[in-house]
């Protein structure tokens, strides 16, 4: 691989002083960087740092408010089609393919329009698709219908489609998010060979390992501004994370205080379609981690306790049996449940944030209480208090819709809505999935604080580091059964994996 000096030749793509605001809120501020010919530049940053906005400006979907974009030294065209004609190709994360067409048709869709109306031969298209599919490591027929493919395979089609456009600049937005290890390998190879052919590549990814593996230079964004533009060799993982977050991460996880002996939640013989005879006890002030592979029955335990599924067995909260089980009964007993899918099951995206915060405890806000007429002053005051306690960052205020929040802040709001009910047992299912490092750290601190105040917490997570760092004890699930509970000091990743995969200790 040859390292090419930017100053000697015209870069494939150059951004000069680009700024962009949405409704007065700056998304990108005065960003300048260049992608050399045959260079892979990684764009790193937390959610909301401005990566997507930059991607969309490069693709011509958005126009910068100020600054210029140069494509091989020339002015960028003013339309999406024009930009495409300048051989700038973007592979979007949100897949833009047609489920009812074949793979071959999808790959060549952009070059079909110029042809004679009846001149499309599926057979010819398929033949022309073979080589590009091979190049991205796709092992399916070009005649397959796209809708029949897995998400990872459609991602490969998306990349193949980008390759046939003969790109000089290629923007890849999270290209590996849904790929298997083997498929990733092929994508990496394809990227490497494109680089060798002189294509300038902008690579956007959340996976820091991939960034280090693929890129020549790393551009770091934070809050819309450029904070670093450095050769890969000058960065390591820790310094990159620090640049992205803007502060040193608290060393690992917060300290958690020892639990009490009082039993907050006892579960015995819990059984439904997925789980079998699950029994455990959770003490006041304790965080019990629940680990296991996908489909091991972790989420089902939570749903069964909360009364969202029909299950046998006994559940008691501070000695009082929960019977019959229903969400209403669980809430009345002081149980709160933060589901794994906050967007679809936790927050009201199209309603004011205030309403999500108050919805669980709304009955208590009646004035007079029995009337069902909401005391709005009290509602507002409580929502503000809760949001402050949770360190929610809401740029539009609490009257803005839930959709305006970043993933981390949505999660804080969802946890916050439950704290309005002053719960005694908190069940969290994948509370930090898909949220950025800074917000994760804040949620960890919050959980530690809540546990210290006496809340009993059941923490379900796929991230083993999180489980090991945040729990007093760790329960391991496999195939619907609870195989054992390890003390924090005894537990390590190897043991968890061995148990979760059915091995003996």
């Amino acid at each position: 691989m040859t390292v090419i000096d930017d100053s000697l030749i015209v870069p494939a793509l150059e951004l000069r002083g680009i700024s962009k605001s949405f409704a007065g809120v700056p998304a990108v501020r005065d960003v300048s960087f260049a992608i050399g010919v045959g260079q892979v530049v990684a764009l790193a940053g937390e959610n909301g740092a401005g990566k997507s906005t930059i991607k969309n400006m490069i693709g011509g979907i958005l126009r910068p408010d100020s600054g210029t974009i140069l494509v091989r030294g020339g002015e960028q065209a003013a339309s999406v089609a024009g930009v495409r004609a300048q051989h700038v190709t973007t592979v979007h994360q949100e897949i833009s393919l047609f489920a009812d067409l074949t793979v071959a048709e999808n790959i060549w869709i952009n070059s079909l329009s110029g042809r004679a109306p009846f001149g499309v031969s599926l057979r010819k298209l398929a033949a022309r698709s073979e080589s590009v599919l091979e190049r991205v490591g796709a092992h399916f027929s070009p005649l397959a219908t796209l809708g029949d493919l897995s998400t990872g395979q459609t991602q490969l089609v998306e990349i193949a489609k980008a390759l046939v456009s003969n790109p000089k600049v290629l923007v890849l937005d999270e290209p590996t998010a849904s790929l298997t290890m083997t498929e990733r390998h092929y994508v990496f190879n394809a990227v490497s060979s494109l680089r060798d052919e002189g294509v300038g590549i902008l690579f956007i990814s959340h996976f820091l390992e991939e960034i280090f593996q693929l890129s020549d230079r790393i551009v770091v964004l934070r809050d819309g501004g450029l904070v670093a533009d450095l050769p890969r060799k000058e960065l390591d993982r820790a310094s990159l994370e620090a640049l992205m977050v803007g502060r040193e991460l608290a060393a690992g996880f917060p300290a958690i205080s020892p639990p009490t002996d009082q039993i907050a939640l006892s579960v015995s013989g819990l059984t439904d379609d997925t789980i079998t005879d699950v029994s455990f006890e959770l003490r006041r002030g304790e965080i019990l981690g629940v680990s296991g592979l996908m489909g091991a029955g972790r989420t089902e335990i939570a749903r069964a306790i909360f009364g969202l599924s029909e299950a046998h067995g006994d559940v008691a909260v501070y000695g009082v049996p929960l019977k019959p089980r229903s969400p209403q009964a669980a809430i009345a007993a002081g149980v709160a449940f933060v589901t794994e899918d906050r967007r679809d099951e936790g927050i009201f995206l199209e309603r004011p944030i205030r309403e999500t915060l108050s919805v669980v405890a709304l009955d208590a806000l009646g004035k007079p209480r029995w009337s069902g007429v909401i005391d709005r002053e009290q509602e507002r005051r409580k929502a503000v208090e809760q949001a402050q306690q949770m360190h929610v960052t809401a740029r539009g205020g609490l009257e803005a819709n839930g959709i305006s929040l970043s993933g981390g802040n949505q999660q804080k709001v969802v946890i916050g809505k439950w704290l309005e009910t002053a719960p005694r047992v908190l069940i969290l299912d994948e509370p930090t999935r898909g949220i950025d490092i800074g917000a994760k750290a804040e949620i960890y601190r919050l959980l530690a604080e809540l546990a210290r105040e006496g809340l009993a917490i059941l923490l379900i997570s796929s991230e083993m580091e999180e489980i090991l760092g945040m729990s007093h004890r760790v329960a391991v699930m496999a195939r619907g059964r609870l195989l054992g509970i390890l003390d924090r000091d005894d537990a390590d990743q190897k043991k968890l994996i061995r148990l979760a995969t059915g091995g003996e200790l």
């Binding site: 909360f306 449940f337 679809d344 009201f348 309403e355 919805v359 709304l362």
Partner: protein, 336 residues
Amino acid sequence: MSKIARSRSIGSATWRAVSSQPLIPAGLVLIALFGVIEPNFASGSNALNIATQASVLLIAATAMTFVILTAGIDLSVGAMIFLAGALVTSTWLQSLPPALALVLVALCCAVLGGLNGLGVAVVGVPAMIVTLATLQIFRGLGGHITGQRSVIVDDDLRFMGRGDVAGIPLPFVVAIAVILFGTFVLRRTVFGRFVQAIGSNQPAAMNAGLPVKRVLIGVYAFAGLLVGIAAMVQVGRLGAVQPTLGSGFELTVITAVVLGGTSLTGGRGSVIGTMIGALILAIVENGLVLIGASAYIFDIVRGAVLLSALLLSGIPQQLLRRLRADSSSTPQSART
């Protein structure tokens, strides 16, 4: 460390509801246009005329707003008006005092609406299917009661459709009362909040332990009650119950609601918006007659209004969101 700024005062919430209606300018343009072509249009007595003619639509559309806010739909509205009218004329109620008879019919409509709700909430059949079925049932029952004839309504059962309060026609007074009550229920009560929460994100509402089924049944029953009231007014105004009474009315009602900015996917909308949508429909119908438009123009305009309602339900929401974001653009919290 972030701070949450108190965003807006209570009074501005009302303003926001009104200002988020893209129709107000459109309505003003229509009024100006009709007023210029036909001076009679802008007269006070014509305003009362429009108010009276809009009243049934206003009441039924308020009911429909609640249903659509839960991401549901009620196609049985027109048929229920017919059935309620048929009940009003039925011999069973002849012996009762008129006011009591009307109350009984309204309660009956609430029960029938509750049946719609049971189908939707408990059986889990899509609202469109449930209410399409009950549409036929209600029409059939009404037809059975009236024998598919035009039945003249006794004068003493017509009081909801006639008379006035201090010069304001009683139907419009009833409509305004229903709108105020509907707005209050939607904006100020726990029930109203639950309605919007369920429409916005039903799984989230379930997970939050909200009584989703009860609220849904309540919404359809409430809608039934209001439709019953709308029927009293309608029958009172018409003076007769006829087999086509209310036929196709559900489409007009849905048009008014959608015109008023309520999202067909639920969760977002307002009674005030619906009111404006309904008034615009009534203004169009009235104005077309007054300017002497040809009969064929009526159909063209009705279609155009329906189309623009459907377009409005999609596109301008994004536009509005942007406009609203603009007016509150200053970031109200410092990032860490």
